[in-house]
């Protein structure tokens, strides 16, 4: 989380506490601590019950199997079963591909849209509302729109009609193994990019104009100014959103569920999240699903370690 702490923020000095004599001081200290923990207790309980405990429970479950209401220890059985699942590697491949595409499309597009919007002097409010409207749709609404109208594989579909009008080859969209993931990313970007655009816009507005002026005086062109001023100045927020985006896209679930009815054609839409769901709730295999969750946890931990390493090295 190194990137998230704003540079230049100094640690505050310890609070000045008037120092009464020993006994009173100790009881005061205890009381202060109690007060502090009293404020904490609600959130801590929620973390304990709904995050910390489930993490341990998940690991425990992944080494158990419940059959006929009886739970037994089964060692690595759940892991062997999950690894033997024919959809295991496709699910990881698809999830990685989705994450990558979402970074290329879903991450870069909002940034450039924000830069563009920031340069326009007119119709600002209108454009901002436009990009944010899809965020307001219930995700199922937006996805059914894409599924039924945009990605209709016949020529009656919106996208195919447009492609045909432009004399371009049409696509089978969700019914084509190659188009499945890009189509899912397009839908997902459309419905989610509004928030990212607004956050970028806000951070763009905080860039002091003098920096651009200075760069211009140095003869920096448009792209140089973006590269040398805009990106470094928004690095903090870019890094933060990149992390959030990766975590969010790793758990892509509703997109395959609705757009591709789950697995898509020949497992081309199966994601890790969907596989967890398929094991837990279709195949009566909550333990296997828990094992897959643990595998994902380990993969993410490794990923964050690498990410932190890279970002801190650059500093």
């Amino acid at each position: 989380m190194a990137t998230m702490t704003a540079p230049g923020k100094t640690e505050q000095p310890a609070r000045q506490v008037p120092a009464p004599r020993s006994g009173a001081r100790r009881s005061r200290k205890i009381r202060d601590n109690l007060t502090g923990h009293a404020f904490l207790i609600g959130a801590v309980l929620c973390f304990a019950v709904f995050t910390w405990y489930p993490m341990i429970r998940g690991i425990v479950m992944s080494f158990q199997r419940t059959r006929r209401g009886v739970t037994t220890w089964v060692g690595w059985d759940n892991y062997t079963r999950i690894l033997a699942d024919p959809s295991f590697w496709p699910a990881w491949r698809n999830t990685a591909y989705f994450t990558l595409l979402a970074l290329v499309i879903g991450y870069a597009v909002p940034f450039f849209v924000a830069i563009l919007l920031n340069e326009l002097r007119h119709a600002k409010g209108y454009l901002r509302i436009l990009v944010y409207i899809p965020v307001m749709l219930p995700p199922a609404s937006a996805l059914f729109l894409f599924k039924f109208y945009a990605y209709d594989p016949s020529d009656a579909g919106l996208f195919n009609a447009i492609l045909r009008a432009l004399h371009l080859p049409t696509s089978q969209w969700m019914q084509s193994a190659e188009a499945t993931m890009p189509a899912m990313v397009i839908a997902s970007t459309w419905m989610n990019m509004g928030s990212a655009v607004l956050i970028y816009l806000a951070s763009l507005q905080n860039i002091p104009g003098e920096l651009y002026e200075a760069a211009e005086l140095d003869g920096a062109g448009l792209w140089r100014r973006i590269w040398n001023v805009t990106i470094p100045q928004t690095r903090l927020i870019l890094g933060l959103l990149a992390m959030m985006q990766i975590v969010a896209t790793m758990q892509v679930f509703i997109e395959p569920l609705i757009l591709a009815n789950g697995a898509g054609t020949e497992d081309s839409a199966t994601t890790v999240a969907y596989l967890i769901y398929q094991h837990g709730f279709f195949q009566n295999d909550l333990n296997g699903a828990a094992a897959l969750g643990v595998i994902m946890l380990v993969a993410l931990a490794a990923f964050s370690a690498v990410y932190l390493r890279l970002t801190t090295k650059n500093d």
């Binding site: 709904f50 998940g58 436009l130 944010y132 643990v294």
Partner: protein
Amino acid sequence: MSQESGARTLISQAQLRRGKGRFVYWTLLTLVVLGFTLAFVGPLYWMVTGALKTGQEIAQTPPTLWPKDPDFSNYTDAWSNLNLAKLLFNTFYYAAGAVLFQLVLDTAAAYALSKLRPILGNVILGAMLATLMIPAIVLVVPQYVTVIDLPFAHVNMLDSPFAIWLPLVANAFNIFLLKRFFDSIPDELMAAAQVDGAGPLRTLWSIILPMSRPILGVVSIFAVTYVWKDFLWPKLVMPSPETRTVSVGIYAFSGGSSMNEIVAASVIAAIPTVVIFLIFQRNIMSGLTAGSVKG
């Protein structure tokens, strides 16, 4: 928006006023306005009018721009068959509760961690932040098993809104945002209040909170958006038709309804939030932009 037209951005004002720059600017503006309208309103238009078409017309090649014979039955059927009013109420209810629980419990916790700093506070903060990178899906199975049979209490929380509200309180990102914001409030202010005899609760209420409106706004908006967008968790913990959220309800409905009726339901479900958004867009936009960077 906070930015005045005079503020310097990537391209200077002067450059845009000059002959060629001016031409490029206006062309670009027109293109952007047209393109964005097409890209963001176009699909919505398609959705609203598509649901007015008959099953035959929607399968027609090439598609028609405006329904030949608008048929409202899809909308009326969707409204009566789906019980959308109940679904919308549920969703708003869960969102409101999520905001309330997050504001109260997370603010209190962040305040304690930032200002009261009790013993082991840093350990707790670390344990909370450690969950920042854990996506919900990783925990979905054990969390679900936990909610079914709460440890010690042995109660089943399925179909209870607390199954949505309480897990959302365990949100490290909120704690992080709030704590950072509170950290930026000088301790001297608090010390002054303390001299006046105000206890921690009074200080929080009358000094910290009024200064923290932007960040509280952001946390609220995030909470609402999260509940609005979440799917798998509410699908699992709110299994009965009476307690479903809009998204889950529409998905369940899609198993047994015609394509156009599903889209009609989707349109109706989207209307209230889009209207609310358009009414409050100024506050929402400035809330999002003000708080998120400084947080």
